[in-house]
């Protein structure tokens, strides 16, 4: 059984890209959210092993959702997957507890790298 995954992005197409690029060891349990509020609710219900989170979203953005998820579960593994690649954005979300940061568009290689980064982060911050 692979690790369960929550994908959070307001774009249906981008969620499909992420699903297609997921490393094979993830899933099959998978949930999708279209904004941060849905993500927090799904996290609370299912406690997925891994979250791929966009930053710029309607209703509740990824920074707020990350903050709330980390408050619910300080051991949550959240990978930020975003087009906002500013160094300060990265620093901000890593300070808030994100386990890795990857840029869009996702590819199998970039998600594999992000996963390795997240696993390392979890080992260093158990």
């Amino acid at each position: 059984m692979g690790r369960s995954v929550l994908i959070v992005d307001d774009s249906n197409i981008m969620r499909q890209f992420i699903k297609n690029a997921l490393p094979p060891e993830l899933g099959p349990a998978l949930w999708e959210a279209r904004d941060g509020a849905e993500a927090v609710a799904l996290y609370e219900t299912h406690h997925p092993d891994l979250v791929f989170m966009d930053l710029t979203m309607p209703v509740m953005d990824g920074v707020e959702a990350l903050t709330r998820i980390m408050a619910l579960d300080p051991t949550a593994t959240v990978i930020i997957l975003t087009a906002d690649i500013q160094a300060k954005s990265r620093a901000r979300v890593m300070d808030l507890g994100a386990a890795a940061f990857a840029r869009k568009p996702p590819t199998p290689d970039s998600l594999m790298d992000a996963l390795a980064q997240a696993d390392q982060h979890r080992r260093e911050h158990p």
Partner: protein, 212 residues
Amino acid sequence: MTASTILKPDELELLQEIMNIAFGQAAAELAELIDIFVVLSLPEARVVPTTEVPVLIVNELAGDGPVSMVEQAFWGQFQGSAFLLLPSNSSQELVYLLGNTGIGGAPILPPKELEKETILEVGNILIGACVSKLAELLEDTMSYNPPTAVMECHPSTVFPITSWEPGSTAIVLKTLFRFSGKNVSGFLFLLTSQDSIAWLRRALASFLGRYA
């Protein structure tokens, strides 16, 4: 020709996502240059008659004060013009943020010239980063005209609608941005004519083939 016959909803959504990535690249390059944090809105892709573009722009700009605009034309297989619109107080704040010697230590200029020089440089960086990323994602190669600036115009008169064919349709790709903690905000958008549509549809299909 209606919006729906030019691009289907899923093509517009994909284009919006591609623009999100391109605008993100532009913000990152500017943030690195002047050590600020750029807050981007959700990007939007729309197909509108060119005659409606000025109204759309005026509606997007907060307030009725003067604006400054940088325009830069680009062409590859995808071609059009990119625009950076800033309320005039934002362009003055940019001069302050970039320092009074201008980018790259250029000589001090009279204030109005310095302001124009500054927004030309900022426009060039934002537009160049955005359009280059767009070209990379859609596997195109772009050439650019030098940017031009129009300073302190009323929003309703700043847009050069006369340069567009009457009855033509434009794809408007836009994002609003602001600098966190600073009095700078603006509006970055690309306009492309319907002449690019056939190529654009093929490029979007090819992008989908690579990622979907």
